[in-house]
């Protein structure tokens, strides 16, 4: 019972906007499993709404939907682009062999939901890059209509917000063998190659050290 009291405290904290993330999760979890608690929650909400004279004509219970959404939400911040990329790897315990994985940048190889796990875009279907970003009188990115750089901020979660109904299907394992690799290993390997490539780019082009700005600054 003390547990119940505790959860009710959390619940009223949530209503006051005082609950921390952990409490929110606990409350939502409990609410989804405990009918009594859900009723309490509804009553509190109705009372609060009535006090604010905002009583809706119809009462809708969003809690299960929110809970489900939270369940599927990936944690924000912290991991580097690569760990974001590689995270699904670990989760699905992808094994070595022929698995085709589209990582960050799903948006670019935009495919209808459900097919995004396939090897993206054939050469034939790729957009013609020969865009005229050189039209006369145009001088900078704003003028020639290049979208802001933020257009590239792409991740599976963002993808979901942008209407991807199946953001998870970016991973498709077509064959599985027993040789497991961890996402850390894959990430470390790719990071190593990227660094070496950066070095190659810096020494084989004329841009001096500029390519080294591409080094990941997130913790590997």
């Amino acid at each position: 019972m003390s547990n119940n009291t505790q959860i009710k405290e959390s619940l009223s904290a949530l209503m006051d906007g005082q609950a921390d993330e952990l409490e929110v999760r606990r409350v939502l979890k409990e609410v989804s499993e405990n009918d009594e608690l859900r009723d309490t929650w509804r009553r509190h909400q109705l009372a609060a709404a009535a006090m604010r004279r905002e009583l809706p004509e119809q009462v809708v219970d969003y809690s299960s939907a929110i809970h489900a959404a939270l369940e599927h939400e990936e944690s924000l911040g912290g991991p580097s682009a690569f760990s974001r990329i590689a995270k699904p790897l670990g989760r699905l315990a992808v094994a070595a062999s022929v698995a085709v994985i589209a990582l960050v940048g799903v948006q670019q190889y935009n495919k209808p939901a459900g097919t995004s796990g396939n090897t993206p875009a054939t050469v034939a279907s790729i957009d013609n890059v020969q865009v005229d970003f050189s039209a006369p009188q145009l001088r900078n990115s704003v003028e020639f209509g290049i979208p802001p750089v933020t257009a590239r901020t792409v991740s599976a979660t963002n993808g979901a917000q942008q209407g991807y109904t199946a953001p998870r299907s970016v991973i498709q394992v077509t064959e599985v063998t027993p040789d497991k690799v961890t996402r850390e290993q894959v990430q470390a390997y790719l990071n190593e190659l990227m660094l070496q490539h950066t070095e190659n780019a810096a020494s084989n082009t004329n841009q001096g050290m500029l390519p080294f700005a591409r080094m990941p600054t997130d913790q590997d």
């Binding site: 865009v131 990227m194 084989n204």
Partner: protein, 352 residues
Amino acid sequence: MQLFSKLRQSLKLRLPFSLRLLHKRLGSLFVILITATPFSSSFALDDLSSVTNLLKQMAEANRQLSYQGIFSYEHGGALKTVKVFHSVRDGQEFERIIHLNGPEREVVRRGNNLNCQRLGDAMLKGELLRGESLRGAPSGLSELSRGYLESHYNLYMKGEDRVAGRDITIVHVVPKDKFRYGYVLGVDKETGLLLQSMLIGSKKRVLERFQFVDVTIRTLVDDMALEPTNQDHHLASLDAAPCLNEKGALPINSERHWKVTWLPPGFALSGYHISPERKRETLVFTDGLTVFSVFVDPDEVIKVPDMQAERGATVAFLSRIRNGNEEHVICVVGEIPIETAKKVAQSLIPIK
């Protein structure tokens, strides 16, 4: 003389291929004719050749000038700021960059000899390229002597702007095919130093942007500024960037085991490296502006599925290849469309 080369440049565009040889032979005659022409100075600068000259100037400035400053680097909505020092001492470049935000990162590079001409430099400068250095590039580039970039990009001068408080000339570099990305370059008017560079992907998307915030050019860079302060600094190597020999060719390396059978037009092998400890073979290709690397590792290094990854404008396409009984991991990494990376990876074969 400079005017002549400009004229030749514009002629080259108009002459059919078969006439170019003839025109080359008659080159000296042209000089005489032009110098003898009283109104020769009235020729307006051809836009194309002034772009070519600008890029050539840039190529030299980027290596030869001493400068220090702070630039920003943006990709995927993330912004980094980086401090850079570049100095030339006794004909050698000394460079150091420090990431100013996020985890501490510092890279130092020393001893890049100014006399060392690399293939990428030669392409960008449009200097003579003999067939030798491009052997293996299946695109028949050997006869090109100038304006190498123009074969694969359309170049446009796009007016002026200001970056880091300095006047720049803007150049749009638009690819002629879908195998590479485009660039918007901002070149310092006074010195030719590259002060801004944007990589433009399909649908005109800016994939990344370098831009100086503040820069001092032709400055005396303090010795201490070139020394790393962070113990964990990275010492950048020049291993995979050999100098062209006196014939303008890459030195032969007989130990190579792998070659690609397809390259986007204009790309050629500009460097390679075989690391003794890891048995990793690295092939580096460039078209003068863009670089991608091909890594071949023994299978035991990592057991991974085929995959592709992206970070900013950099893509990686990872695959496997079998040579006899040996399994190898191939990874193509570069600032190129993923389809290009994939096609290159799939064209890799062992050298018999």
